[in-house]
Symmetry: C2
Subunit: 458 residues, 2 copies
């Protein structure tokens, strides 16, 4: 702990850079720096000031619009009127907690668990994805009597002490404790191209990791994986890549926790939850981000016997978890997803994006791979001359992210090598938005010289 040196973050504003930010922004950044300080990073070489939003658009104080192709929290759209009305109505009534009776939380909970396989019958509410992950780990510990956790090597699961301890993507100063072991995530660009082989390789790594834990004297409690491996660079295919690994986890006496904070609530278009694509049965499912469209609500869904064992022995109460206002927002989110058929929209518009990105990749070798599902897409940038070994190009990813920002299209980068463009817009993203994104990306790419070609040309 306390290792020296500035911690690196992909796509963050550098106050020491000479980027033009304008007088107003500059004064605000200075005040912000004084009172919020080092923990608060801004996105982009030139930060974006956000004053309002509407659907998939954000607006700065001058009314200039930005296309939001990044934010997964406002899944049913910025400033969604239905969420707003539901919250307002409930705030005008009352906003207490779960130790008084109220039918709204029961109605919502029944509706929520009905979206899961039958054996997942109960839900506990928390405020953030971090709190939900933290609670899932506590439940797994309680049920198994063990502490060992297996994660992927660039996982992100949260910011509480327990969830940060399983989040190596937070950087090298975030030293993992002894009860945590990492395994490389499947790498669709570099793994064996045969699907079964990739899944088998991942399962073997999990098997070895559990053995490694046991050699340390740590018993195995849980395998936790983001169902689309978002921070590992987005791995949506092969589709059942997690299945053999989950079988290993169960055989070795641990639980499987599906982190659905990012893929959940229909983002993938094909299903409500990412784990369904893998034909696996998680013991615990963690929900978050889009659940309340920005109102802080998250949850753990699980088996009755696990929830009962935990709730019987451990006192758990979360003051803000499942309050009437959060539940009102969450209810409006489900209404919007269902009534506006947003899973279908994610599949359709995601398809438009996927086609357009693939078309770009066909003509530009720097786009090493385009992958994804629904409205969660990734473009992996590589050095164009480095084939067949796909050398990651984080510099290009960074240039593209900031180039798109200059054209008022918001995305970011991620992945172990920080070379993966992350496209993850609100679920109300439309085909015309997809076209705008594709046009801007095409322009940025043509304006950005290919270093490999430049340097090899005499």
């Amino acid at each position: 702990m306390g290792a020296p040196g500035q911690m690196h973050m992909v796509n963050s504003y550098d106050p020491a850079s000479d980027a033009e930010v304008g007088r107003r922004a500059s004064a605000l950044i200075e005040r912000r720096q004084r009172v919020l300080g080092a923990p608060y990073r801004l996105f982009y070489r030139q930060p974006v000031e956000v004053a309002s939003g509407d659907g998939a658009l954000l607006f700065d104080p001058d009314g200039v619009d930005y296309l939001d192709a990044y934010n997964n929290v406002p899944a049913v759209g910025h400033a969604n009127p239905r969420v707003r009305a539901a919250v307002d109505e409930q705030l005008g009534r009352v906003n207490t907690h779960t130790r008084y009776l109220s039918d709204q939380i029961v109605d919502y909970s029944e509706r929520l668990v009905s979206l899961f396989p039958d054996y997942l019958e109960q839900v506990v509410y928390t405020c953030s994805g971090s709190e939900a992950v933290d609670l899932a780990l506590r439940i797994a510990r309680h049920v198994t009597g063990a502490t060992g956790v297996v994660i992927t090597s660039n996982a992100y699961h949260g910011t509480t002490q327990a969830s940060a301890a399983i989040s190596p993507s937070l950087g090298p100063n975030n030293v993992l404790p002894e009860h945590v072991v990492t395994v490389p995530a499947p790498d669709p660009l570099r793994d064996p191209s045969d699907d079964g082989a990739s899944a088998a390789l991942f399962a073997q790594r999990v098997e070895d990791a559990i053995t490694r834990l046991e050699r340390r004297g740590v018993r195995f409690s849980a395998l936790i994986v983001d169902s689309v491996l978002s921070s590992d660079g987005l791995v949506t295919h092969p589709q059942e890549v997690l299945r053999p690994a989950v079988e290993v986890a169960r055989r070795r006496g641990g639980l499987y926790i599906a982190d659905e904070v990012q893929p959940g609530f229909g983002r993938l278009g094909s299903a409500w939850w990412g784990f369904l694509r893998h034909s696996v049965e998680p013991d615990l499912v963690v929900l978050g981000k889009p659940m309340g469209n920005g109102l802080p609500i998250s949850a753990v869904v699980g088996r009755r016997e696990h929830m009962d064992a935990f709730g019987r022995d451990v006192r758990y109460f979360n003051t803000f978890g499942g309050t009437p206002v959060s539940i009102a927002a969450a209810t409006a989110v489900l209404d919007e997803i269902e009534d506006r058929e947003l899973l279908q929209n994610a599949a359709t518009v995601g398809g438009v994006l996927m086609n357009g990105l693939s078309e770009l990749a066909r003509h530009d070798r720097r786009l090493g791979q385009v992958r994804g599902e629904g409205l969660f897409l990734a473009v992996e940038f590589v050095r164009s001359r480095s084939q067949p070994v796909a050398a990651p190009d984080p510099g290009l990813a960074n240039q593209v992210v900031n180039g798109l920002r200059a054209k008022r299209v918001l995305v970011s980068a991620s992945g172990r090598h920080e070379n993966v463009l992350k496209i993850r817009p609100p679920l109300v993203f439309e085909s015309r938005h997809a076209d705008r994104l594709l046009t801007a990306l095409s322009e940025v790419l043509s304006e950005t010289p290919d270093d490999d070609l430049v340097t090899t040309t005499p």
Copy 2:
């Protein structure tokens, strides 16, 4: 972990009891039990169904009113119109996160830190008190390079893994890890009656606890104390009881973390923060519950050098922490506290309550002590015949809590012996509310026979 047996919770509904709950409530409880399960306890022998609220009142679905003398979250009143309007306006605009520029969070942060001593200059936002405590512990760890934490023996600091690990009030199955040691809280009813001696005794216990940690090979990182020791039974006097202990903590190389989740934001009437009454200088201050009047927002306030060291080395981002909507609610809360002079109100109405309770205690030996400050008051119930040793009477506390509930006045009990009546209403509590509470309490006491007298009468 996994110890058998139902975990005990003071003042919880027992589904196996024969209490009359009515057909509607009964059906709802059954559905609730199925989908929310064991982690979800209800208050009171007869649970209360809450449909709406207004100021210090709650209403059931039939419009029957309950006086809320328990809830500290809706500090500026249930269904507060100003908070509602602020949230609605912001939800109609936008609700993103802290990686875009926005002036609201900077304005609010400057205003918030101005309520603290000058050396506390920076703030980091989280969603719940638990998350804020968890973060404060992470910062303390980072700054000191040590892990040992000293807490009071019935402390409650939260529900994440790290904050539950310093919350012995969660019960015997919540086994504390090796880096945590407890010290008995000052006990105003049983400690030496000399103020200086009580503070010195507490400081000595902290000193010994740090030594105990070091003997285990654990270096000392932080002393964390709720500034009014809420879950230890509410200790508001002697006023500077924490000062010598804080000096010890600092001399031994640790930080002092003031947990202001309960006393903060003016509840004590005398000051914005409980630690100010102790003339101590915390290194980190944890805020929560009333901060957004029910919108999930909490924070850690601290010294620039600590925040900088943490933020520089550790990547910290909280998706829902400090979102525009949370900040809008928190801003409205400060407006309400200031414009309606709620600190003054807490002092005045708290005084009315204190006088009335003291008057009751003068005529009833079962009220062993009345204590508190502002709108945070405690009545400690003891066996009337057990003087001078004040034997706690949790049974009576439980009878009074449920007796008051039957008279539609909501309070609860707490403390190491569960014999302390906890009176902690919204800050908009008025003198007429105080009168209603005092009348109901007087009636309940006269209707509840004194066991000691009954059993000793032939």
